[in-house]
């Protein structure tokens, strides 16, 4: 009864008048911004005026071949150790969820051991393996051996670093993968089984692809963490980025400038990885999120145009059929 009349009234007044009001002032915000700007100014001032930063020396060594070789080794360590960690993590996670109590306890014990001891201790342990096993042989368990090698020749500093970092990472990745697998609804496995799919096929085709969305973000985190943790290999004489600059400043005593060189390279590498992680996450969010988060560029553009308030996410709606 009343609805049609209300509609009529609305029709008569035409489009509603837009509200024009004086916005609320935020003095606290301006004060905070002033404090931050002051601190930034002080930082820039000291960076520029304190001669002991020795920017000329930083410039000299920044692209020197010894530093770049160290950076290369750091990246190699990160990539190989993460690859070992991911493969091992998937195997351990599947073992941990296995119906076989021996397999699941073995996985539990592995994670317990490698997560429970500092990675630095593990690195030193692998580096000094020759004290425990002077000779390493390959053969039948408790039987004859075909290949024998001196542990000191086989386990070089680099091999020890890769083993230490990779095996340690496996324990962490196992938990990440396990969380991903557990996040997939039980009905999914049941539906696959009802179709006659085996457990392995179900895991490979149904469970893991869905678990990826949960697995990817922490894996990115782990990779960034690994990049920095690899600096621990300097302790066992692997000339990665940190040890490379340590070798230089132990001769010329320019400690601070060379540590800054290493820090800048670490920052550049982690920035690249962070950007990569952002876009991979965004990719896997397709199909599950109605709206994708804005890219940093979109966000920056928004901030430039509206200074005082963080804007709502722009409608980056996907056209139907573009999800996965």
């Amino acid at each position: 009864m009343t609805t049609p009349r209300m509609a009529e009234t609305a029709g008569r007044t035409g489009p509603p008048e837009e509200i024009k009001a004086v916005p609320v002032r935020h003095p606290g915000r301006w004060l905070a911004a002033a404090v931050v700007l002051l601190l930034v100014a002080m930082l820039v001032h000291t960076l520029v005026t304190n001669p002991r930063f020795q920017w000329d020396i930083i410039g000299t060594y920044f692209l020197s071949s010894r530093v770049l070789d160290g950076l290369e080794l750091t990246i190699l360590l990160t990539v190989v150790a993460m690859a070992i960690g991911i493969v091992l993590g998937v195997i351990l996670a599947v073992m941990r969820l296995s119906a076989n109590p021996l397999l699941s306890s073995a996985s539990w014990a592995y994670i317990w051991l490698f997560r429970g001891t500092p990675v630095l201790v593990q690195l030193l342990f692998w580096f000094n393996l020759a004290f425990l096993y002077p000779r390493i042989s390959l053969g039948v368990p408790f039987g004859p051996s075909f290949l024998q090698a001196n542990a000191n020749d086989l386990i070089t500093a680099l091999a020890a670093a890769i083993l230490g970092l990779g095996l340690n990472e496996g324990a962490y990745m196992a938990e990440v993968v396990r969380a991903g697998i557990l996040s997939v609804e039980h009905g999914q496995a049941e539906a696959a089984q009802a179709l006659g799919m085996s457990r392995t096929l179900t895991l490979r085709r149904i469970i893991l692809p869905q678990a990826m969305r949960v697995i990817i973000p922490p894996t990115g985190n782990e990779t960034i963490s690994m990049l920095k943790t690899s600096s621990l290999a300097s302790v066992i004489t692997v000339t990665e980025l940190l040890y490379a600059v340590q070798l230089i400043y132990s001769v010329n005593f320019q400690t601070i400038p060379l540590l800054i060189v290493a820090s800048i390279w670490y920052l550049i590498a982690t920035s690249v990885l962070t950007a990569g992680q952002f876009y991979i996450e965004r990719y896997y969010a397709r199909g599950s999120a109605r709206q994708l988060p804005p890219t940093p560029w979109q966000r920056l553009r928004r901030y430039l145009f509206t200074f005082h308030a963080p804007p709502p996410a722009p409608p980056a709606q996907l056209p139907p059929g573009e999800r996965r």
């Binding site: 179709l195 599950s288 139907p320 059929g321 999800r323």
Partner: protein, 268 residues
Amino acid sequence: MITPTGTTPPDPGASGPPMVLAEGLHKSFGRLQVLRGIDLEVARQEVMCIIGASGSGKSTLLRCINHLEKINAGRLWVDGELVGYRQQGGKLYELREREICAQRAEIGMVFQQFNLFPHMTALENVIEAPIRVKGMSKARATELAGQLLDRAGLKDKADAYPKQLSGGQQQRVAIARALAMQPKLMLFDEPTSALDPELVGDVLAVMRDLATSGMTMIVVTHEIGFAREVGDTLVFMDEGVVVEAGRPREVLSNPRHARTRAFLSKVL
């Protein structure tokens, strides 16, 4: 525990053994007895509807039939084959995973919550098992899936992801997915219970069409109308036993047991 008895599989008659035969099925979860001696026979091309209050064991019975649950006692045959076990020389042997998968591949199941694979399109959902389990060629599977989706009224939704479909459409994709394995028996576990009322009709229409085509079906449902019109047999379960079974119209209009009467007075 299941122990071997003198029971032999039913004699294959002229039309073969019954599609499903259950004798004295028991199933318990810990100390909770869910099935307490179920005897059941489903003939070929029969549509059996099972009704009963929640917790009466209907869904568990269905899940036992394709071995998603292991029975604790009794015997269960599908198409003359013991489900989950092999009997040799008076001894029962558990089947290997591969053999269980082969048995399940011939039994389609439709779930209350659809359980479509969300990372695959409707078409990919339907062709996945025929290709990976039956080894069907992709072209053949896609052709078959096209026919099945068409029959379910979803011809233009083949490339949609489950999240982009309504509940009724998802359930019809789930039915097509089960049918793509060309099963000899279809199990429906409350297929319309999670649907908005206006979407129930489309799903029931697809099931009715399937029943007309001669598929053997066991349907756990609360849709009394569907049971009356499409079902050949109506089974009323309560507290883990079959209380009453018979022609739907007879059971519904003239229930013999007090428990059936009490249940029907609540739902009709």
